[in-house]
Symmetry: none
Subunit: 230 residues, 2 copies
């Protein structure tokens, strides 16, 4: 359900690259590393990058140039890396369109926090503006606030059940196989028993069944499940 962000790391110092890579991968991010600015631009153009960490001082094309280049073509978030004492203007940096900057030497904690903060501010903007809410008659499934409201009162429901319900409800009347649900709700890299879906469906039903004539969680024999709306 949640894609792992891929982060481009560009620094001519291989040790720094390695350090940053380790910190980020420990947090579950995917990383791509390169040692000069020219290569960084190539990788960026190939696509698939969610955030770039650019050293200011790099051979072939410095961080400022790379950042400017990226900004010409995209709003992808950028964090600049700068050595302490290096002549560098942080204002220039932010004016360039960089989203944040980190001064070397830095702590892992700080790096990770800044990366996460920038991603939170930039990535979710698409999803934050389109609130993840789906409603029918007297039911509202709100994935933004993790809320399930039926007949005006909010109900307690565990996250996975809510996600599953939201997924089904946001594609009303469409049947999904257990495998599809596992892939779409649990994630492409989830390797588990498809009976798991059944159990979750049951648990959701306990909470919502009989509360409306207009909608229901229906079993489609030998196929899967659907959220049926009349």
């Amino acid at each position: 359900m949640k894609k792992v962000p891929t982060i481009l790391i560009a620094d001519d110092d291989a040790n720094i690259c390695e350090l940053v890579r380790l910190y980020l991968e420990k947090e579950g991010f995917q990383t791509v590393v390169c040692l000069d600015g020219k290569r960084a631009i190539e990788i960026f153009r190939e696509g698939g990058i969610d955030l770039a960490i650019l050293d200011i001082m790099m051979p072939k094309a410095d961080g400022v140039t790379v950042c400017r280049e990226i900004r010409k073509e995209s709003k992808m978030p950028v964090i600049m890396l700068t050595a302490k004492g290096e002549t560098f203007d942080k204002v220039l940096c932010l004016d360039l369109g960089a989203d944040d900057y980190i001064v070397k030497p830095f702590e892992g904690k700080e790096l990770v926090a800044r990366v996460k903060a920038v991603l939170r501010r930039t990535l979710p903007e698409d999803t934050e503006n389109t609130e993840k809410i789906v409603s029918y008659e007297n039911i509202t499934v709100n994935l933004t606030n993790y809320e399930l409201i039926i007949n005006g009162s909010s109900m307690d429901i565990p996250p996975k059940e809510l996600e599953l319900l939201y997924y089904l409800a946001s594609h009303p009347n469409r049947v999904f196989t257990r495998e599809q649900l596992l892939e779409d709700v649990w994630g492409f890299d989830y390797y588990g028993d498809s009976r798991t879906v059944d159990v979750h469906i049951k648990r959701i039903r306990e909470k919502i069944e009989g509360l409306s004539e207009k909608w229901t969680l229906k079993t489609v024999w030998s196929v899967g499940y659907k959220f049926e709306v009349k």
Copy 2:
């Protein structure tokens, strides 16, 4: 329809004052100049100042003292001026609450850039200068006076807890992750343990839970916390 920011310059060296004044006025800022710390405090108290540039070494009251005095009463941005080689601890400086510091001798470009950067970071917050008060039924969280009033009587609560409560209460029913709360309540440059949030939530709950049916601090499993209002 943007008001021109007024900047207070305090330095015992009249030449420096003049230099700073010229740089800033060239950029369209309004300025007020004074030569010692005591006068700086007076001018600050008279109001109308948007940012102060304070030399650390000044007669009557040094920059550190002035900054501390200002911080007692307001969040007005402050930039410290320090001579190269002067014994000075930039950490102390920022801990004081200063927003930035500039080492003499400086270039006009740098000065202007830093002033603009600080204003950009701080002014927009000030524009939300409507009183920071939020109320529901029998609870009033007042961040302006650091007051928490429930059922008409004011309760003792430490500042951080109040800030957290205020933040949550001012976005009712919205879930925040621990990371978001750390960033928004503690500040973007805080890199502490996210369990810290839990502990603060617990401490707030000890003080406010059970005092109303209409609102509560709710845990949203695997997500974070929210201030729920019915």
